[in-house]
């Protein structure tokens, strides 16, 4: 096949993919892209023999917006709001990864308070993301109540984010060189209040689900992924740790001051949907502990790096200092040049290993930005997890691997 030639229109998907034996009695079923349990616009082409899955094939790209191409036409600081739109359920995790990558290119030192705030926000984002996962996953299985409880707690996180950044979801609060602005006066009290009551809420979810025989039967032994398969198929994060691979970038390759925090990395060896459920519940408890540590140990100081040519000045300084006004004008109209080079920054997003690869040619716009998003790779493992199982298990598996189509299609 010539790289330039398009594939024949109308080639059946399963014909185009690797050869299968005779499938005369098999039925091909499309799940999605408009299916309520597909968590966005995911289309799964399923070949079934009765109710048993013979082959399963994810077809993606329905949300492809060419964000990587758009980034090449933007200044470095204009890319931050675009990263929110990748994994729209955990925007701060995306902001953080991008900003760390650019700061690595710039060799920019970030003040300690900004680093601690970033950890706090990243963990709050993890809670936010895991709450949505738990709510929608339980709802897919049929436990509707949990969904409402999860969104009740998520609402408080979103209100905290709104107070912080003015936006509930697309926060763009973590910026190159630090944070967008000082957190509001009531921020720490609100987070403290939330964290105080949250462990009870996790117990509440656990009471509703862990002992529930329907929930258990739908998850235990379903969607098994071995440790070897997890590594071979690029699965990361809670899904990989649910298969017994003990690796977490926060602990093993720390960034943004994570090495100063004490936390356990939950591991399970079963590799089934139940293990992934247990792991994420434990991760929420660990995140609560880390947010508590961040609140208790929050250092005093600046929240922006001392780099006037890179970091936008405060509004007040702009009104009183000529230099600040000039810098603001320059950054907004011309951006800032970033030294030529390439970096890859990996972070542990709520869904797994996120990695942003940025190539700079020395100008004010990135030459190439590539997003390695965890869900994209996780989707490759879905066939391994579902093969030989019943069709209804696909719903449990898709719910348990916690994918977001925004970051898959980009």
């Amino acid at each position: 096949m010539n790289p330039g030639t398009p594939i024949q229109i109308g080639t059946p998907l399963l014909e185009a993919s690797p050869a299968v034996g005779s499938h005369d009695q098999h039925m091909i079923l499309n799940m999605g892209p408009q299916h309520p349990a597909m968590h966005g616009v995911l289309r799964l082409v399923v070949e079934i023999d009765g109710e048993i899955i013979v082959r399963l094939y994810p077809e993606i790209g329905y949300l492809h917006t060419g964000i990587e191409k758009t980034c090449e036409a933007k200044f470095y600081h204009q890319v931050v709001p675009l990263t929110d739109r990748l994994d729209y359920l955990s925007p701060m995790a995306n902001n953080l990864c991008y900003c760390l990558a650019v700061e690595k290119l710039l060799s920019l030192e970030i003040p300690e308070k900004a680093q601690w705030m970033r950890v706090l926000l990243a963990e709050l984002t993890r809670l936010n993301s895991h709450l949505i996962w738990l709510g929608t996953h339980a709802m897919d299985i049929g436990a509707l109540t949990v969904f409402l409880y999860c969104f009740r707690e998520r609402e408080e996180i979103l209100r905290i984010f709104e107070g912080l950044s003015g936006q509930r979801m697309m926060t763009s609060y973590i910026r190159i060189g630090g944070l967008a602005m000082e957190p509001p006066l009531d921020f720490f009290d609100r987070v403290r209040g939330f964290i105080k009551s949250f462990p009870e809420k996790i117990d509440e979810y656990s009471n509703l689900l862990t002992g529930n025989p329907i929930f258990r039967n739908r998850l235990q032994g379903v969607g098994i992924l071995s440790a070897a398969d997890a590594v071979a198929l690029g699965v990361t994060g809670p899904n990989m740790r649910g298969s017994g691979v003990d690796f977490d970038l926060r602990r093993d390759m720390p960034y943004s001051g994570y090495e100063k925090f004490q936390f356990k990395v939950p591991i399970a060896t079963e590799g089934d949907c139940w293990a992934r459920y247990v792991i994420r519940l434990q991760e929420m408890r660990e995140s609560v502990g880390m947010i508590q540590q961040a609140l208790d140990g929050m250092p005093e100081g600046e929240i922006k790096a001392n780099a006037p040519k890179i970091v936008l000045p405060d509004r007040e300084k702009m009104k009183t200092q000529m230099e600040a006004l000039i810098h603001h004008f320059k950054i907004v109209t011309e951006g800032f040049a970033v030294p030529a080079g390439e970096v890859y920054q990996g972070t542990e997003s709520p869904r797994g290993q996120m990695g942003y690869y940025i190539v700079s040619d020395g100008t004010a716009k990135p030459y190439r930005v590539h997003f390695r998003n965890p869900s994209f790779a996780t989707l490759q493992a879905i066939e391994t997890m579902c093969k030989g199982r019943m069709l209804a298990d696909v719903i449990a598996v898709v719910g348990s691997i916690d994918i977001v189509l925004g970051e898959i299609d980009r």
């Binding site: 010539n2 690797p18 790209g61 090449e72 390439e342 890859y344």
Partner: protein
Amino acid sequence: MSQNTLIGKAAVLEGLREHPAIKAILAWNSTALLDAKFDRGELTLTIAAGQIRAAAATVQAAGYNFFEDVTAVDWFPSSSRFHLSYHIVSHTYKERIRLRVMVDGNAPAVESITTVWPSANFYEREVFDLFGIHFEGHPNLRRIMMPDEWQGHPLRKDYPVEGYR
């Protein structure tokens, strides 16, 4: 960054003599290592274009067990137009390396590493779709993001960001 920068094969081989990936690559085929760079704490090893599958298998055997990502960069209009960056993490050494392959712009093609890491499947399809680089031996090389009937490869530098092509 506190780490010093090492540019060029000789400097990296001198400065990072004990690095497990470099040792493995040299023990396998020292001529396949064309260039090396250690910059901002990241090691880049440039591998000869026809050798990437064997090089991937070599670093995998050396403990770099987790394939994270492969993507391309278009340096249009320079002669070796594309470079491919493979990011590989070691769970043992808790470290990441980057393998680099330079690809010619005329009928660009490179070996697929899906036999070494099946997880490269989607990533190679993405590079094929958006850059038009052909991966030889890939089990299912079809467009992944764009519609099957799409003409052109959007992430190439000669493809406009907006407007008509």
